[in-house]
Amino acid sequence: MKKITGWASAALLGTTALASAEGVVNLYNWGNYTNPEILERFTAETGIEVTLTDFDSNDTALARIRQGGHGFDIVVPSDTYIDTWVSEGLFQPLDREIVTNLGNIAPQWVDVPFDPGREYTVPWAWGTTGVIVDTSVYSGDINNIELIIDPPAELQGRINVIPEMSDVMAMTIYYHGGERCTTDRDTLRAVRDSLMSAKPHWLALDYGAVDSYAAGDFAAGIYWNGASMRVRLQNDNFAYGYPATGYPIWMDNAAVLADAPNPENAMKFINFVLQPEIAALISNFARYSNGITGSEEFMDAEMRNAPEINVPAERAEAGRWGQACPQDVNDIHTQIWTELMQ
């Protein structure tokens, strides 16, 4: 056994030495999001070494890149932020000579509002924010945000809501028939009032709640699809609903930075992850879909048919892209949120 480990590390050292000759690519991605196997395979295939640095929010990533001198080649921000990145000239267009796998992107993810025609970015992972419900506690229709903002008696006091202002505001605004960044006072008033009256029924506003759901601390909540699947795999009473009045879709996208020190290697890496087999590795690790045609067959069996990962056809229509609202609208959202949490 020791001998094998010895040989393995020798082999590893060998590839490292080889890799440095071929150069590096520096990836700046969300924490706990990058399957290490992808990096190993890329290095094995191209000899290019990959360094990985984590960020914890879109704001952190944007602030750091804006400062300059970061040394990163690739960044993976969310759809609502892409506009800002592009308009500030922080990305360089994809080099179509190198990125030849663009055709692998599933048709519905090519002409996306934040990057029409995929000039700068490629999908990394995407998901939805919806409603998770313990069906042994509540047996009615779960594709309904009312379960959270006007909860039935059996769910009252057993609800957890992710403390994501944008998701919670969006779903409540959609429920009241508004657009994402509406300035209509009556709508916003209705949003505020329904959130304020819902809050007493919420037990917690917690992010890392997979265990808490599975353990029965919560019976319902606003939650992400990938996390909801993890809950169901631990406790199959739970099901994930897509609110019919509207639910947010998000997508994290990889792009090459304008001041990337290794642009060519970066393009190669982007092209590499557009392969169905590699994209499936993203999904198997992060537990979200990836937007690459044909990647399903390489995904773990439990994900391939998961209702949380594959949006049912009749629910697809209610999904809506996020949008970064203008500062004055965002200030109103923050004010409502602060009032809610005071």
């Binding site: 929010s57 932020y81 202002m165 944008s166 006072r185 917690d206 353990a215 500062q327 949490m341």
Partner: protein
């Protein structure tokens, strides 16, 4: 003269670090609080008092002409201060007997007890907080034991309550109270306690007039060490309290994150700093007033 110059030079690295690392960022925060929010975070260089206005006042969302006191911010401020005060008090209450116990052990076993006190520092705060959660959740250790022994019929809701937050905070900050208290007690002159008894002082009198004045520096140091980080704490309240209400730390983080209003965040952070410094000065003046009597 020349010698003096050299000594000054030796100080410069420390002074530069202090100046750059402490005052520099603070100055930036102060400047930012007078600017306007930029697009998607950051600031634009337009002078504005809007951030400071918003710290204390708010325009009604639906009637922008109506200005009222920003009770939401004040409420969050008060919650943080109140929680810190409670934490400090609980830590002092539990820390005193603990430190006393350690200080009165034989010299060679004291190290062992002190060592035990510091063990929690070896583990990440988040992990310790999750461990507490594991104990007090509805199907956690405590409820399981109580259910099994038949003391209760249905689990007690401890998670996401004020009790959970105070338990977590006291647990996290207790060592910071015990250690300075112990340090003060170790230096204490126990013959004064004997003298007190010889003069027919009651136990309470000895505690009040002999022991407490001697360990007061420990209490002062401990309270400061507990109160200041407690006011900015948000991991513990967020996890154990369930994040239903904001702490000062959350409110500031919100402005730099999803709120995308850096000037307001900067103003709030600065106000917190001013408050802490103010509280410190007040505290030292009131509590440290008769310092001279201590060693009398």
């Amino acid at each position: 003269m020349r010698g003096h110059g050299w000594k000054w030079l030796l100080c410069t690295p420390a002074l530069i670090v202090l100046l750059l690392a402490a005052s520099g960022p603070l100055l930036i925060v102060a400047v930012y609080s007078f600017l306007s929010p930029g697009n998607m975070g950051g600031v634009v260089w337009d002078f504005s008092l809007e951030a400071w206005f918003r710290v204390f006042f708010r325009r009604d969302i639906f009637e922008p002409d109506q200005v009222e006191l920003n009770t939401a911010h004040l409420q969050v401020f008060w919650r943080s201060v109140w929680l810190s005060l409670q934490t400090t008090f609980i830590c002092a209450f539990l820390g005193f007997p603990t430190a006393w116990f350690i200080a009165t052990r034989p010299r060679h076993t004291r190290t062992v007890w002190l060592f035990l006190i510091t063990i929690p520092f070896w583990t990440n705060l988040l992990i310790r907080t999750f461990a507490i959660q594991e104990m007090i959740r509805n199907n956690g250790t405590i409820n399981a034991v109580l259910l099994w022994t038949g003391v209760i019929d249905s689990p007690i809701q401890m998670m996401f309550t004020e009790f959970a937050v105070l338990l977590g905070m006291a647990y996290v900050f207790l060592p910071l109270m015990v250690l300075p208290l112990y340090a003060a007690m170790e230096k204490m002159d126990f013959s004064l306690v004997e003298a007190g008894y010889d003069l027919y002082a009651s136990r309470l009198n000895v505690l009040w007039h002999v022991i407490l004045p001697q360990v007061k520096p420990g209490f002062i140091a401990g309270s400061i060490l507990v109160f200041i980080p407690a006011i900015g704490a948000y991991v513990t309240p967020r996890i154990l309290g369930g994040g239903r209400t904001m702490m000062l730390g959350n409110l500031i983080a919100l402005q730099f994150g999803q709120g995308r209003n850096w000037p307001l965040g900067a103003a709030l952070a600065l106000l917190m700093l001013v408050m802490v410094v103010g509280a410190l000065i007040f505290y030292l003046r009131v509590v440290g007033r008769n310092d001279g009597v201590r060693r009398g």
